[in-house]
Symmetry: D2
Amino acid sequence: MMIIMNVDATPEQVEAVVEKIGSYGFKAHLSQGEERTVIGVVGNEPITTRDQFLFMPGIARIIPISRPYKLASREFIPQNTVFPAGNVPIGGEQVVIAAGCSLIEGRTQWLETAQAAKEAGAQLLYGGTFVPYSSPYSLHGLGETGLELLAEARQATGLPVMTEVVTPEQVAPAARYADLLQINANNMQNYALLHAAGECSRPVLIKRSNSGSIEELLMAAEYVLSHGNRSVIVCECGIRSFETHTHNTTDINAIPVLKALTHLPVFLAPSESTGHWEYVAPVALAAAAAGADGLLVAVHPNPEDALLDGNTMLKPERFAALVAQVRAMAGGLGRG
Amino acid sequence: MMIIMNVDATPEQVEAVVEKIGSYGFKAHLSQGEERTVIGVVGNEPITTRDQFLFMPGIARIIPISRPYKLASREFIPQNTVFPAGNVPIGGEQVVIAAGCSLIEGRTQWLETAQAAKEAGAQLLYGGTFVPYSSPYSLHGLGETGLELLAEARQATGLPVMTEVVTPEQVAPAARYADLLQINANNMQNYALLHAAGECSRPVLIKRSNSGSIEELLMAAEYVLSHGNRSVIVCECGIRSFETHTHNTTDINAIPVLKALTHLPVFLAPSESTGHWEYVAPVALAAAAAGADGLLVAVHPNPEDALLDGNTMLKPERFAALVAQVRAMAGGLGRG
Amino acid sequence: MMIIMNVDATPEQVEAVVEKIGSYGFKAHLSQGEERTVIGVVGNEPITTRDQFLFMPGIARIIPISRPYKLASREFIPQNTVFPAGNVPIGGEQVVIAAGCSLIEGRTQWLETAQAAKEAGAQLLYGGTFVPYSSPYSLHGLGETGLELLAEARQATGLPVMTEVVTPEQVAPAARYADLLQINANNMQNYALLHAAGECSRPVLIKRSNSGSIEELLMAAEYVLSHGNRSVIVCECGIRSFETHTHNTTDINAIPVLKALTHLPVFLAPSESTGHWEYVAPVALAAAAAGADGLLVAVHPNPEDALLDGNTMLKPERFAALVAQVRAMAGGLGRG
Amino acid sequence: MMIIMNVDATPEQVEAVVEKIGSYGFKAHLSQGEERTVIGVVGNEPITTRDQFLFMPGIARIIPISRPYKLASREFIPQNTVFPAGNVPIGGEQVVIAAGCSLIEGRTQWLETAQAAKEAGAQLLYGGTFVPYSSPYSLHGLGETGLELLAEARQATGLPVMTEVVTPEQVAPAARYADLLQINANNMQNYALLHAAGECSRPVLIKRSNSGSIEELLMAAEYVLSHGNRSVIVCECGIRSFETHTHNTTDINAIPVLKALTHLPVFLAPSESTGHWEYVAPVALAAAAAGADGLLVAVHPNPEDALLDGNTMLKPERFAALVAQVRAMAGGLGRG
């Protein structure tokens, strides 16, 4: 880190800072500019001692030099990370299209969705079963029954399945049934959950919080990676802005920014990031064009009867049309 | 709710909407304007059927008429809600000043904080003990030990104590030791937790999420109220904006807006809403001047050694000066 | 508009509102709901009298029924608007790619840019010449000399040219030389300028302000349309959010939302909406995939020496590659 | 500035950067950290050459060391700036309360407002007369006639008067009649206007744009200061956030942040920053409590008939009550 001293910092104040730096075993590197002194702190992660300098007189600001993530950083691992989900390569040449729903409502709805998704050309299914009370109407998921339905859908379609986990305790059972785990936006900084996911052997998809910065998303990924799990997907699903025509604002810049900053696969969830089914297809296409490695698209046989988020869901025939468009576009771009 | 038809909606489309409205037992109230038909839907909470109209042709938009909260609404309950926390009235004439920390680190730190807070004139203590991994450094709270420390601080100071709950299971033990429960910003829409808090007999303080609207905060309060607990405090603690000089942006407008919309007590947490100890006092004073019923101020005997959020914490002497200023100002305004 | 009365509004209060409505020649349409009265106000643009009801007792809220724009609305004009710029159709099948710079620096830089753009396959040129002091370094445009350079570039390349206007007085000279006029983000609500543009015979492109809502952008378009100019392009160029990795946040949702709300051509300016040349190509492709009718891409022979915004500009060879990609992708999607 | 090299930057790349630094007459100061090289650039404002390093291989990021403003910075000028407006000291002990309107509608409305403001205890009047088309309804100011009305109000009340300028040409006539000039939010980055204001002899109040950062506001002040005018007020008037209950979000944190960063007087405009008259008084009090040096409050004898922004305006009796409250509160705080 760099410690920027005040313009009128005294030599004694500079000295005191240098001494404190030394007391942590770091080296101080002074740079005397035209108007002030800047002190570089060299050592192993000096940033962790930042608060200790809080009340020292003469300091103007403290600036970190490195991004706070390393394992997730393309600077340290230039090569794209590619890993399989079932037999589907994630992070490879082809845009992976996942279809599903945030809440598995029951056997018929779910298997119909799975079948339609398969027929349309989806490569991955997702369905929520450990859904917490996600609305005031006290909806919640089917729990273990839902996990069995996940397995049944995999059986029926041959597609790998993904499901959301909400507490650390759910990681083990979910990992027994599902091929991938999913951590939703409101749990992006739930470190106990990230820790548990980091110790499991399934790939994990982490969604960006609607008030989370790109750096905070990468920090969440870093946390999972640091606990041993190297198969992580980061997923943009919209941020909250002043615009009210859509539920969230899709930060499409995040796709190329994430591709530049990290070697991990980058997905987008257009159903959440728009909040309206009419806008899902154009934004899904946009994400694929911008370089996303995959898409999570909400599908329901009868959106108007969906228990949750019906207005974001595509009917199967619209989903099929979208898959065809993504493939045609990718073809045009010479991509899988 | 109001259903706004398209300008070119056909009589058949209007008829179909009217019929569907009838099928739910609601009454349709047609209003033929200069350019389009508007259909009022009269009945008991017609908004719950909104998604059912999603794909009907001829509909431009659907607009809710009432705010989605009732028990929290000043329109339905005009009188201020006042309730005691220990022997301190919350929501009454006086600005209630709470001091504490988001993480009780140990007996010495906590009892020193409590003693200093008491001496400075604080009326309420808060300390976190069921703190989840709230940072990548795997900090977490002391659990039951922390609850005992809470009780010890109450014993030592005579002040009521408040603690955060994170899961529904923590509500019962926390309610045995603490006088009030606290639900933090990232759990504002954790409905299972809100449900449990709604069934307990302790007052509950709910913090606004940094991406949560005022209406969503009131919906969270409504949910607690609807489960029987009528002692709820809503607490502004900053929203995320494009401004980067402070961690969050304190939405001071929210104080008078909340006072207008709800009869519940309204607090502000300036340590969180600014993220820097230098700005805590002026923003605390601002909140009191704007009509806040209470303040949550982070205090630590040695902020530079704090395990969490040290840069937001006041040293005891600064806190004492702040309390004196709030009292002097309130005196000037003829308030307690 | 709809006037929502308070739950406890008295019959006298309702009566007073009804009377006032009548006094403006409007008809009041009462709807007595389960909990409150709602009064529809029927007439010609009743919303213009909204403030007159400000202090009337018993009113909870006033809600507009119609969007505040009509000439720009697809509801009133379902067909896409298509118009020519020179011989290039704007709003038609093909994605129109414009290349240029916000400041024409001089003859060599500008003609080199124009030539490179032409060779790469651009269909439109843009260059600023009435640039106001757009930076503290007191840069400004070449004025009339710049207009002559615009004309020279058209001559040399055969491409139509567009230039920014900043004051109403510049509209006439700009319209003499340029094929299209451009109103930049910070002038989106400069009504005197919009008025002048509305009375000129050249197509006008209006950029969305970085704090402007989609509705406000359409209101700006409406204002130009209402003064007689029916050839208007609306252009997304990024909004300000809390994300700091990019200068603005590209609201890609705005593309399909605008296509749904308006019949006007919709463009995106990826150089501005990202603020970094590395992200321009992916975001340009995203916009085209999402249905944008055109793109404004900043190009410079030597971006590192550019006087303004060099870090957003593509070198000619990168621009050529982008054009090829857009065409390949559009081919894949079966679009021109 | 600091140039952060990539982790895998080659010695040749470092060498090339150092050489380029030398070519501008700056000194390069290398700091070899555990994982990368950081190069300090020492000299006079090296940041102006930043773009020249844009495409050099091996560079990860470039970080400025100093804030980009100096004349406005409290670091360089620790003492509060105080200057007179008429005989009222601005930036001194007392909170200065200004009353007025963004558009002077005519003689009666304006002189009534001025008289009421004077009686209520306001110390400053403001009224817009060079108002551009600030709404689609083609309202605009009275121009020179308005300036005469300003002077008449000063004559009648003895209070200094302030008026908005919109173009550089208006600065001279406005300065002949008014005691202070005002640059509104949408012109915060209009450098030609800031330049002209910087060369005039009247104090200038600059409002923060609703998408402007605190740093950008201070840069606007810097620009005026750098042209010789040392009497500048910076004024918070709300930013755009996702909250929709109020027109803007009052960033109350900005008051103490600005007081810490600059020696210039800091005002707040609660009518604009809330957009609703009901919230003006509490937010005005909040600003005074947070340390603001002054307030701009919109007042109108008949807000329901106001031509502009009627819903933000206080009736004279409410304004008088607010002034009394601010004085009582300031008294409690021992402030003038």
